[in-house]
């Protein structure tokens, strides 16, 4: 029921924002309203696909990881299961995350290592740690709630031919990994097209670029993205393929059994 309510809110938000985008000459929405609309954007009840992650070091050497993943929302919690397909030495390794948005509860996380044949509960405190050696942190990949930052609409610009709002977001928590982020959000799709991350000293740390967005089952899905660390000169490309939305995943698809057997 809670999820259904959120979908209704999302639809209303989309309609309102479409109206705002059409009447762009009228008063612009606030930064907070824009980021809330991005957060509430319909994403489907579940999603599955294959993630190909290419890690590029400062010398241009590439390492490629292929990961099958499924995700879904069930009774107040979002669940995600990722199973490594390659490279060979990590094949079969799986990682599962259950998150509880707005409930004040930390994520539950487990990892399965085929060599040890055991599912192990792990700490989810390292949200600032890099995800699998990439330039993305776990926090970068998660659904950050708008209430965690103070948002300001600073300007409007055009990115790849699309009219965008430019929103500066400053974390309310001074211990946050970044001092601020600047996001370019497509007015038509209510999707972020690029984002700059600034470190605690206020220096540009990372840049995120979205190079491909496609509509799958009526929902905008980011298909290709690249995070570049401007200080270390490393980058990570992510490409999603075989994407399916609302394919009927159920709570029982996110279990220890699924972790050990794979997807």
């Amino acid at each position: 029921m809670k999820r259904k309510t959120r979908h209704i809110v999302s639809l209303i938000a989309a309609v309102v924002f479409a109206s705002l985008a059409v009447g762009a000459t009228a008063a612009e929405p606030t930064g907070t309203e824009i980021m809330q609309a991005v957060y509430d954007r319909p994403q489907g009840k579940d999603m599955s696909g294959v993630l190909t992650m290419t890690l590029v070091d400062a010398k241009g050497k590439e390492r490629v990881r292929s990961i099958k993943q499924i995700s879904g929302s069930f009774t107040g919690m979002d669940k995600k299961l990722m199973v490594f397909q390659s490279p060979a030495d990590v094949r079969g390794t799986s990682f599962m995350n259950w998150s509880y948005a707005g409930q004040g509860k930390g994520d539950d996380q487990w990892i399965y290592l085929p060599a040890l044949k055991r599912v192990k509960r792990i700490s989810s405190e390292g949200r600032g740690d890099n995800f699998m050696g990439s330039d993305f942190t776990y926090d970068d990949l998660g659904d950050r709630q708008p209430m965690e930052d103070t948002h300001t609409l600073t300007s409007t610009e055009t990115v790849d031919g699309e009219a965008c709002w430019v929103v500066e977001s400053v974390p309310k928590d001074p211990k946050d990994l970044y001092s601020r982020t600047i996001t370019w959000i497509s007015k038509g799709k209510t999707v972020g097209l690029k984002r700059d991350y600034y470190d605690k000293r206020g220096t540009l740390l990372k840049t995120l670029r979205i190079s491909s967005i496609e509509s799958v089952s009526g929902i905008w899905v980011i298909k290709k993205t690249e995070m570049r660390n401007e200080q270390k000169k490393t980058s990570t490309r992510m490409e999603f393929s075989e994407v399916k939305i609302d394919s009927g995943l159920v709570d029982g698809d996110f279990t220890e059994r699924a972790m050990t057997k794979g997807l």
Partner: protein, 440 residues
């Protein structure tokens, strides 16, 4: 004491190894036949793999060389080829893992590590064949991990994944939401492999004089002599829980006194013992959960009628049967990118007798710290066992560098501290090793 850390690492090494070698079909012949079957299976399925996308062949090749610090002599010189073939079609699947070992200059030996068939339904999985079954939530500790025996021929020196031996039987998993029930039946008994007598890792036998050790007999394969295990598991948002039980053969034998001779004024002058495998009943739990930044876990078990060696003058058969309790409490946490793990383990012999070789309680701890560097291509880890009663320890530092996605280079050491105790007894056997692993 047969305790939680090295349960089964008793003085039965020579005997149990001998039992394997004397069990009818010679080992080499058995291996050769097994290898032939596996190679045929691999060949047949590999050929089909080119046509069926459900078949996957992968594995690794690894070379490892290690030397003792004391005299520089090699104690590890091995080449390993590990092949894993899996094939799935609908609700059925099969898997075979065969390993070709070349150790310390001996001829290469193939070993069938696992070979099983899986059948799956909406609410069940059935696995039949040779398989590893791993239970428990502790790291490097085997309190409720009682199904698969271990290869302790080189003590705790190998990586944990190489310590486990497969068992042959059937395993049925039943699922209902977050709950599952696992039932295991093993008609064939597989003993733990202890260090061979005279080897680098052979422990001292718990007798006042050196005994004559007769050959052990493995339990016969009969319906009533099978091993039975059951485990209930729950995975939830607050905690994970397992409750287990088993009626099984202890993986290492107890030594029964066959004959002994006394000389007036001298005491015990001759002793003949026979390793005996015996049944044990066990029940236990394993639980883990998170508390803020901490992952907490605990594991414990009661074992009925375990046999403990004792003074042959006090115990006519050389051992006494006692119930035991083993448990651990532990936590994992991260600080500044370093991952830490701490565990405390206690072994308790109920109704202890002073004439038993083992003490009434045994306290052990483990400590691990690990960190990755260079985009997770470099991993440094130190795992250590700490004997709290004898002040001894085994420290295992290891560094691994992923030179590429396929090539891994590693180096490590085994450092024994103390003069006595399970780890201190090997104080002169500190060693270091280097190696390379190519995955495909």
């Amino acid at each position: 004491m047969k305790h939680a850390v090295i349960d089964g690492y008793g003085p039965g090494g020579a005997a149990s190894s001998r039992a394997i070698y004397e069990s009818g079909l010679s080992l080499s012949k058995s291996v050769a036949i097994t290898a032939s079957v596996v190679l045929m299976l691999l060949g047949a399925v590999q050929a089909r793999a080119q046509e069926q996308e459900g078949a996957i062949l992968n594995g690794y090749a690894r070379s490892k060389v290690g030397a003792l610090v004391e005299d520089g002599s090699y104690f590890i010189a091995e080449n390993t080829l590990d092949l894993r073939l899996s094939y799935s079609s609908g609700d059925a699947a099969c898997f075979a893992n065969t390993v070709l070992y070349e150790r310390e200059g001996e001829p290469a030996l193939p070993e069938l590590r696992e070979a099983y068939i899986d059948l799956s339904g909406g609410a069940f999985d059935l696995r039949m064949g040779k398989q590893q079954i791993i239970w428990g939530k502790g790291d490097g500790v085997f309190i409720t991990d009682i199904v698969s025996p271990k290869d302790l021929s080189r003590f705790l020196v190998p990586d944990f994944e190489e310590l486990r031996l497969a068992v042959t039987g059937a395993r049925l998993d039943l699922y209902a939401g977050a709950h599952s029930l696992e039932l295991v039946w093993l008609p064939w008994f597989t003993p733990t492999i202890s260090p061979a007598a005279g080897s680098l890792w052979a422990p001292a036998l718990p007798f006042p004089i050196t005994p004559t050790v007769q050959a052990a007999e493995l339990p016969e394969m009969e319906l009533e002599s099978g091993e039975y295990f059951a485990r209930y598991s729950y995975m939830g948002s607050s905690f994970d829980l397992s409750l287990m039980g088993g009626w099984f053969w202890n993986d290492t034998p107890a030594f029964a006194v066959v004959s002994k001779a006394f000389t007036p004024g001298v005491g015990l002058t001759a002793l003949t013992v026979e390793p005996e495998y015996y049944r044990t009943l066990a029940a236990g739990y394993a639980v883990s959960g998170t508390l803020g930044p901490l992952v907490l876990r605990s594991e414990g078990a009661w074992y009925g009628g375990r046999r403990f060696q004792g003074n042959p003058l006090a115990f006519a058969v050389g051992y006494a049967e006692r119930d035991t309790v083993q448990y651990l409490v532990g936590t994992d946490f991260s600080v500044a990118g370093y991952n830490f793990g701490l565990q405390f383990i206690q072994d308790i012999i109920v109704d202890h007798d002073d004439d038993l070789t083992d003490e009434a309680t045994k306290n052990t701890a483990t400590f691990v710290v690990a960190k990755t560097f260079l985009g997770e291509t470099l991993t440094a880890e130190i795992f250590s066992y700490l004997g709290l009663d004898d002040g001894d320890a085994l420290v295992k530092p290891k560094i691994t560098w992923d030179a590429s996605d396929a090539l891994e280079l590693f180096a490590g050491a085994y450092i024994f501290l103390g003069d006595e105790g399970d780890f201190g007894q090997y104080d002169a056997r500190d060693g270091a090793y280097v190696g390379a692993k190519l995955s495909f």
